[in-house]
Symmetry: D3
Subunit: 261 residues, 6 copies
């Protein structure tokens, strides 16, 4: 039978043995969301999954199935919930998924959980899902549980951003479908990127407030919030390396007991 | 850019065009659940995804990301919620996912939806999710929406079951991790099956009632509810062919407007 | 004051004493749902209530008020949620009722609970309600609690089905408002049955999938999914006897401590 | 087939015809709650059901199955949620039941609904359930729907109270399990009353506030909040007559279109 | 830094010290609801806040921010949810606020909580919120927690009512925006009262039942359910004194351990 | 009667008239959360309320009661949910409050709503509450509704930040209880600030990920995430002016119809 870093590729006795041996369990959190005319809708799924796979391979961890539907996309960070192609869960639904998975992992004796997020709008409901799981399990009860919550872009080193953005980093929110995500996708799944379709109608110049139900027309038609120029697979590998190394270092620092297979 | 039957492998303009052209959208519904010592935990994900891909390819449809976490496994149909490796959502969470995805598909002008289910316990919450979506959208409003809900095993022809089970079909519930699922996995992902690990401790002989919170010890230790002997990739292809053909015929019958690309 | 097998016919000190003495508590679960032109809407209430009463009488148990509103009727198993006369709860509401009643029984020291179900669509939400109660009470806490969940038709012996259906049993789902339910009603409440009104427009020949929001027109106009011919009170008594005997045997087997008054 | 005032005793074509003819539909709302040592737990079910039956008989209405589980009993109005025998739903569960039933009645073209309540603590969640149904159906949409909400004790005429309580009426809250309810039960179901068991440990002298989680010990041990002396079936009939007559007058006044069969 | 009876006017170390010293924590519960043409919408906020402040000052307690949005106003007790100006929460939302605040107070070692309510329709959802908090915290766990729930009008002495209503007290429900509330507002915030605008179109003569979705036209146009004549600041002070004294006496009686700073 | 910018200080006819005249309605969103040893717990209430009041005064708007309980504080942005003094709502509760208030405003013909937020963790649940309100009201229905969502710190001009932070702005998240909030509080409520108590144990140096249930010990003991040195009332007024001017400009730009009284 296959060796695999994917939790669900293994039969249950193998998973049970790996959990008993202290394997950290990775939960990638993504979305199905527009990422410009030049990239597929699964960018927020592909990236955190790949990072989790690389990190888990290095630390003897296992990667759960990625949650492929994310919390409602917002105009300033992803184009918004009404953009064609984007599919949105309510915040409550997303939080309940996270709660249920964490509760069940705990009941199966998993004590080391790492969520790796690829979709900005998931941050809040992921935190809420974790808090709801802790409420349900009992904070006084789960003394040996550690959950680490990572947004992959926060693991990127400042010097890497300096190399990629010599004229200054626009910030992760504006980076939607832009150089960072495009570069990582070029590194991971180049067949899902077609830079020839990038229409360069950005960057967005957002007003400092939100309008509902009809957002102001500041989202570029393409859905790219910033720029794609300068994207490359090489830069994508720099970014991936930072995220993976950061997560490995985090795990070595935070999980007291050795967890490498 | 890649041609793909996967909705999320495409950029948003391509998805929007395909939806406008009448492409049916497939939503595979799975689970992460023990399937015996001889198979991976992702059987209920792999099978409905593969069937949806084959059917969508034939009818010009698109396949959404599979929901990889299912409603709580039960002892008689999947080993139960406390089996190692199995991860369970509450029925409410699962129904909300289905509701949210359907509501958002509708708002993006999708009018032909096909759910393809691979996990017995998902049946009820899928129905509830569909009903909740219809409640939210308004049954009087959604006049041009058609949702078809398929459990892949129900598409298998009686004659195929006769060929596979010359001594009689034990019924889909007992078939958990048994000949049907094992054969299909041998056809689709043989590297995730190791028949040498099958321990032949079944079939289960269930009492005609359920006990909670500690089910009676009728679930075989392996998690295989019936038998694996006689499984083969060839039989798996028979079963897949029935499901795919059945779905294609269903789509041709139910969706009035032609939807082939 | 009256002796009674009904929990709610007794004053609280009597109930408290019976619970302290180990009486199993029966919770019948029904529905208000069309059952053809020839039977009342309360078939799914009358039958599980009567079975619970007979079984409770034999084992010194008490019968709670029947939940008379069931989870949404579906076309293939009951005619569907839009059939005239049928009243439907959402799955979540039904599950919450079961959760609340079980939680409160537990807090009042009841440790032996038997749910007796008469409505197919209740199966999933009853399981969910039980699981929610266990989540709320704490599975590690409720060590002495046993909940048995029974669908009355599953208690019928194969030989009884052979006697009633010499040409083969169509399965419980198609049996809606058909020979089994009609026979039991003839035994229990003949004034609620009028075979002269049965219109023989079945059996239904369902497609192997579901369609929403407008189901295919396969449900016979009468709402009878199979046949009523051959129904008789005598057969009804055979069926009742199987269910009652099965439940009594189950209780004797599952509840370690004697519970007869 | 039987003539019946009970909705669920009829087959669906008869119910559909009666609804089409304008029959008001009665929904009795009760509880399973301690009512002293001298009465059964079903007082709050028996009374509103009987009143609804009598009123429906007079106006050509139909009576739905009584909701037999009520919102959490409180010490000052029913002894409290921890009294032996009492079974409590959360307010949310109770409200959802009312919501679901009303929504489904509306969808089946019922436009005249009368809720008849027998349990003080149900008042709030009944109102909430009605409001939730109106929110769901759309207040602008349901222009021809009328829901009347009755607490049976509010229909009693002042002169009747004067006759029954020549020394002054203590108010309905203190009347729990006391003269009013005992008298009505003596009229309706005398076999469920045993005045010899009444222990006369009241009336309760409640402090003007509530304490949680352990209420002050002001609830008499018996669960009778006031007095039972002076209860009689004759007084029960006076009270029933007031309620029934009040409801009939209300229906004649509020439902513009004649609704008698 | 300021001395203050308001919890939120203090820095966290001061609050922590006061809680550790046994200070009771007051939670005022109000509403934003019409109170006639002659008074502001914040009557139900102003009154319980002022009472809590006075009582807390006397017993060394702290007053939390008032919940300023209440459960849905009803016609007979506040004019109803559609009255201009009134803003309504659902019962579930209101109960969740109470639940969350109590749970968090408990986790921060607060063991003495007093809710002071100024809005009739809040009673039920406040009880439900308290019960939900107890369900979540575990009734067996919170052995040292005491929550006291007060409706300010229930603290008024009978002799005070006799002085204010020599012709008989109409009852608190009809008192909405009438003499009691007007008098207290004249005492507390006279600038928010303009008796010249009182239109004397009451008192309401309510039918003994509720009608939905369009209540009968019994609510006086002004929104005043009874009368305003005879209101005075002096009477307001009598009422406030009763409430404050009653709460102080309650606290001295119920909280065993001294709690004055 | 008083003139007031506070919605709830007015009687209902005045509010109805102001709404009919097009007054924008402001909803300030705050929290009760630790803000260091040197400031009160109500910083996130005081600031958005004051900004809303100033802006509303300039544009003829009205200010609703501030929601004084916020979504769960997190360590990196507010010290975390277990910090003494902080009181937390779940994300779902907070979103429901926003949903309910917006739905009710809409039903009362308010079409111009401005939420002014003072608590970082409220951003997500406020968006969710708005989306839930739009889901409930129907996005196709509310064509004339405009909701503007403002976080006050986002209205501050870059040049103001340059003046205040000549060495570089640390970003709003780290600014918790630091120079920005302290300066604004010195301008608004100096009696709630005592700089002598500031302990200078920051700035926090957060790891780029979150840990649950026990956050890493990176939150300074004081709860101040950055620095307080250099705070002044004058700087507070600069910040307030930016926020107020920004909101006024936003309103003039976004609300087509004039709305000044």
């Amino acid at each position: 039978m296959t060796e695999s870093v994917f939790y669900a590729d293994l039969p249950w006795p193998e998973v049970a043995a790996r959990v008993a041996a202290g394997a950290p369990i990775f939960l990638p959190l993504g979305a199905t969301e527009q990422h410009g005319r030049h990239m597929a809708l699964n960018v927020d799924v592909v990236i955190p999954t790949a990072i989790a796979v690389r990190a888990a391979s290095l630390v003897g961890g296992l990667v759960l199935p990625t949650v492929a539907y994310g919390n409602r996309s917002q105009p300033k960070t992803g184009g918004g919930p009404r953009f064609p192609g984007t599919l949105n869960l309510t915040a409550h639904t997303f939080a309940l998924i996270v709660r249920d998975v964490i509760c069940d992992l705990y009941r199966q004796n998993v004590r080391k959980i790492v969520t790796v997020n690829g979709h900005f709008e998931n941050i809040g409901p992921t935190i809420e899902g974790i808090e709801l799981a802790l409420d349900a399990l009992g904070r006084d009860v789960v003394r040996d549980l550690v959950i680490l919550r990572v947004d992959h872009w926060d693991m990127v080193q400042p010097q890497t951003l300096d190399r990629i953005f010599p004229d200054g980093y626009p910030g992760i929110e504006l980076e939607h479908a832009s150089v960072i995500e495009t570069s990582i996708m070029l590194a991971l799944r180049p067949e899902l990127v077609d830079l020839a379709r990038a229409t360069h109608d950005g960057p967005a110049n957002f007003r400092p407030y939100d309008r509902y139900p009809r957002p102001s027309d500041e989202v570029p038609d393409s859905g790219v919030l910033s720029l794609t120029e300068g994207s490359s697979a090489e830069k994508g590998e720099w970014l991936l390396a930072d995220s993976v190394n950061g997560i490995v270092a985090m795990i070595e620092s935070e999980f007291s007991k050795g967890c490498k297979a």
